[in-house]
């Protein structure tokens, strides 16, 4: 039985700021943009939160399903490091506002930027087991950013949004190579979110851990897949992308370890990696959705019409990592391109630095539980009207007795 991703959609907010504008506003060296390889970052608005991001990513997928297929979704998992309550899950709100059936399993998972991949693999294993023929699982990676000036060069690299993945036995987007994977996990503190108001990061430890885990998880993959070779087995690569410059360094490290001539590294990067970085460079790090934004980018910008095997790498601080693979083809590209992701991203409102800093102040408490709160669209209505492109979007309107409130607008 084939199992994998049937549909994939991205929602990365309605606003962005150019990285050059942001670096200039912070008084940071704009030449550092060369190492970040980023052009803009998505920025959340006051009426956007992990619930609205998840629903707004998944709703277009569900709109394309007939009632029978909608009813076949018997597992909903939200993957987030932006929880809104220590007990009640983001998934519970998402389940309601997507109108999913009451026979659905509903839960939330957390392992920093890895968790969505863990959920996809567990869902794929469940579907492949055959205990519920025809079942589908909806896995949604959804997060918001809490970065500000304290984050330094991580600020322009941090995104906002969600990636929705429908997993089933009709894998139009990515057919997983079941059983072909390698994991590597151990305890470390490279980055974390100890409070709903801020993140902490040990930048060097995080980058080095990402790179070590790529080597080790690929070694695990190779142990399970006879003859697997980083250079020749995969036609394309899609990796967790905290910023594109790290992926470039990771690719170079892996090719050096594979014994590839240094003269061939740049051309190999352009052919097998660069297509996966174009959408992430417009959005920033989407946490556990990042590797799937890279996959969407690759399916948008690479030629896979003859069929291709893609190697995927997911890494989450803390840490847990996995290297796995799957097959894509022309139908995969058509399925992703039908979602219109590049045009939507290009249509986001471009903030000035002054608007951006005001927005950070207005959204600083988005994850802080409040007994009562009202969120007004206010001056941000113009951004909503511009970015929604005529389709309904879910908005966070406040809280009553700690119960978060949402409305379609």
């Amino acid at each position: 039985m084939d199992v994998g991703i049937e549909s994939l959609n991205v929602y990365a907010g309605l606003a962005r700021i150019g990285v050059r504008e942001l670096l200039a506003g912070r008084g940071l060296d704009p030449d550092r943009q060369a190492n970040l390889l980023m052009t803009s970052r998505s920025v959340g608005l006051p009426f956007e939160d992990p619930v609205t991001n998840a629903v707004n990513a998944a709703a277009p997928i569900l709109a394309g399903l007939d009632p029978t297929d909608r009813a076949a979704i018997e597992l909903l998992v939200t993957s987030t490091e932006s929880g809104v309550d220590l007990s009640k899950s983001v998934a519970s709100y998402v389940h309601d506002h997507l109108g999913l059936g009451r026979a659905c399993r509903v839960l939330e998972v957390k392992q920093a930027c890895y968790a969505a991949t863990g959920a996809v693999q567990l869902a794929a294993g469940y579907l492949a087991s055959g205990v519920s023929p025809g079942a589908k699982a909806l896995v949604i990676a959804t997060d918001v950013a809490l970065v500000d000036a304290r984050a330094g060069f991580a600020e322009p690299a941090t995104g906002h949004g969600a990636v929705a993945l429908l997993v089933s036995d009709r894998p139009r987007v990515l057919t997983l190579d079941l059983g072909a994977f390698g994991c590597h996990s151990y305890e470390t503190l490279d980055s974390a979110r100890p409070s709903p108001r801020f993140d902490i990061a040990d930048v060097d430890r995080s980058l080095f851990t990402y790179l070590d885990c790529l080597t080790s998880s690929f070694a695990g993959y190779r142990d399970r897949v006879d003859g697997a070779d980083f250079v020749t087995t995969f036609d394309q690569l899609a990796m967790h992308t905290p910023f594109a410059g790290l992926v470039r360094a990771a690719h170079r490290k892996m090719l050096r370890e594979a014994g590839t001539s240094v003269d061939l590294v740049a051309a190999d990067f352009e052919r097998r990696v660069a297509p996966s970085l174009r959408l992430p460079a417009m959005v920033g790090n989407l946490c556990s959705g990042s590797v799937y934004l890279a996959l969407a980018s690759m399916l948008t910008h690479a030629d896979v019409s003859a069929g291709a095997r893609v190697g995927l790498y997911a890494y989450g601080s803390g840490c847990s990592a996995e290297f796995f693979s799957g097959l894509v083809d022309a139908g995969s590209a058509r399925a992703v391109q039908a979602m219109g992701i590049p045009a939507y991203l290009a249509g986001r409102y471009e903030l000035t630095f002054a608007e951006y800093t005001q927005l950070l102040a207005d959204t600083a408490d988005v994850l802080v539980p409040a007994e009562h709160r009202t969120v007004e669209l206010g001056g941000y209505r113009k951004i909503l009207e511009r970015g929604r492109a005529g389709r309904p979007l879910l908005a966070h309107t406040g809280a009553k007795d700690y119960h978060r409130r949402y409305e379609w607008v």
Binding site: T188, D204, R205, L246, A249
Partner: protein, 90 residues
């Protein structure tokens, strides 16, 4: 290992570090590269620091877990880790 051999190892690693840092940070005056400085203080951002460590390991043909380079207070400490890795084989 006798002291002279140890000095030779250290000299070889120091030369490699200087060569790589000079290549990745071409605007850095040679006199600024002192053992008591952190790469960050020399203008190396996080990606530069990754590139420097990877290039030095490649130059010295060492395979070392990068986690060992996460908490280096200065360039002397970087050289210490590289010398030790060269003696123990990584």
């Amino acid at each position: 290992m006798n002291r002279m051999a140890g000095d030779r190892d250290r000299d070889r690693v120091t030369v490699a570090v200087r060569e790589v840092v000079g290549r990745i940070l071409p605007a850095l005056p040679p006199g600024e590269l002192r053992g008591d400085r952190h790469l960050r203080d020399l203008g190396a951002d996080s990606v530069d620091r990754v590139e420097i460590i990877l290039a030095v390991l490649e130059h010295l043909d060492l395979d070392v877990s990068l986690a060992r380079f996460s908490e280096l207070p200065d360039i002397d400490a970087l050289v210490d880790v590289l010398v030790m890795a060269g003696r123990t084989g990584g």
